[in-house]
Symmetry: C3
Subunit: 100 residues, 3 copies
């Protein structure tokens, strides 16, 4: 069993949850905040059998988009462009899994 | 050291936190959302010594109840019954633990 | 790659996020609740290369303060002092890391 922790943009979260449910994945969503931009984003955790990890990663990849945003540059005048990747994903090993 | 991640129904969360504290467990609660029903639930994380994991799992098991809820079925007319287990629990290994 | 999960007091969270960003660490913040005092606190997760873990722990340690708070004692009359450590930190191993 693995626990997949995926940080995605709010814009993609609802659609991603729907696609995950359609494919039989179970997921839990946390409303989170990016440490750098301090904008809201979503962290979704999915516990999944080892042999389903690749299919899960494909689902995340194909439902989360890279975007660019503009913000006022801190140092110099004018704007800077910040690139937001579609999803930042950590796969953790699960030692025990229980449903009570 | 293990980090126990436990997703429980909101109805059981307060009582569970109380029982955990009484038994000397330290815990942190996240307000989360179920990916399928989009209802609020609670995710509680507990860092615990290896030899206390079984006692902790017993505490979670005996304080979280399985429930059934009815909702309007998407496809056909009428209602469908969804079974919510008392707790979905992941035990993760902790490589380092620090209190600063 | 490691995932560092750090529970800190709200008072230190903003400053810690700033210091982490300055040093090039990427972080995500969760608004959480302590299981015992039921007060709001912050859980910050940081994915980091193995060789940067020590530098990251130093940054957390030097930006989070231990504090004491008073509250009404449950059992006997009067007040009790509770010690809040600056940060409770779990380092987890990451099996796979992806940016999509
Ligand atoms: N210290 C720093 N110096 C310079 N630029 C920085 C930076 N930290 C972040 N950025 C840039 O700002 C974007 C938004 O970061 P934020 O922290 O708000 O929002 C982040 C954060 O919530 C999360 N995240 C990304 N990598 C993470 C990691 N290693 N650990 C924990 N959370 C991470 O995913 C969100 C999107 O990250 P993404 O990498 O796509 O996009 C990042 C990156 O392009
Ligand atoms: N492997 C896992 N990884 C991450 N989080 C997990 C998880 N297994 C369970 N959870 C979390 O626990 C809640 C209760 O799950 P349970 O399996 O008891 O009860 C579930 C299950 O009976 C059913 N269900 C969930 N996903 C389904 C799916 N893709 N297809 C069919 N039924 C689903 O709906 C109930 C409520 O699901 P909901 O997502 O709203 O809420 C879930 C979700 O937040
Ligand atoms: N092993 C662990 N797993 C998960 N989360 C953990 C953890 N250790 C600490 N935390 C988190 O860090 C916060 C501060 O803990 P600290 O140990 O500094 O400070 C604690 C400690 O001095 C005391 N305390 C906590 N649980 C206790 C218990 N069961 N019995 C007696 N004292 C307790 O009350 C203070 C506030 O606790 P609170 O729960 O409100 O808030 C906790 C909790 O959110």
């Amino acid at each position: 069993m693995k626990l997949v922790v995926s940080i995605v943009q709010d814009t993609d979260a609802e659609n991603l949850l729907e696609k995950l449910a359609e494919r039989g994945f179970r997921a839990t969503k946390f409303a989170t905040t990016g440490g750098f931009l301090r904008r809201g984003n979503s962290t979704i955790i999915i516990g999944v059998d080892d042999e389903q990890v690749d299919q899960l990663l494909d689902t995340i990849k194909s439902n989360c988009e890279m975007r660019q945003i503009e913000r006022l540059a801190r140092a110099q005048q004018g704007k800077e462009t910040i690139e937001l990747c579609g999803a930042t994903v950590f796969v953790l090993d699960v030692e025990q899994f229980h449903r009570f």
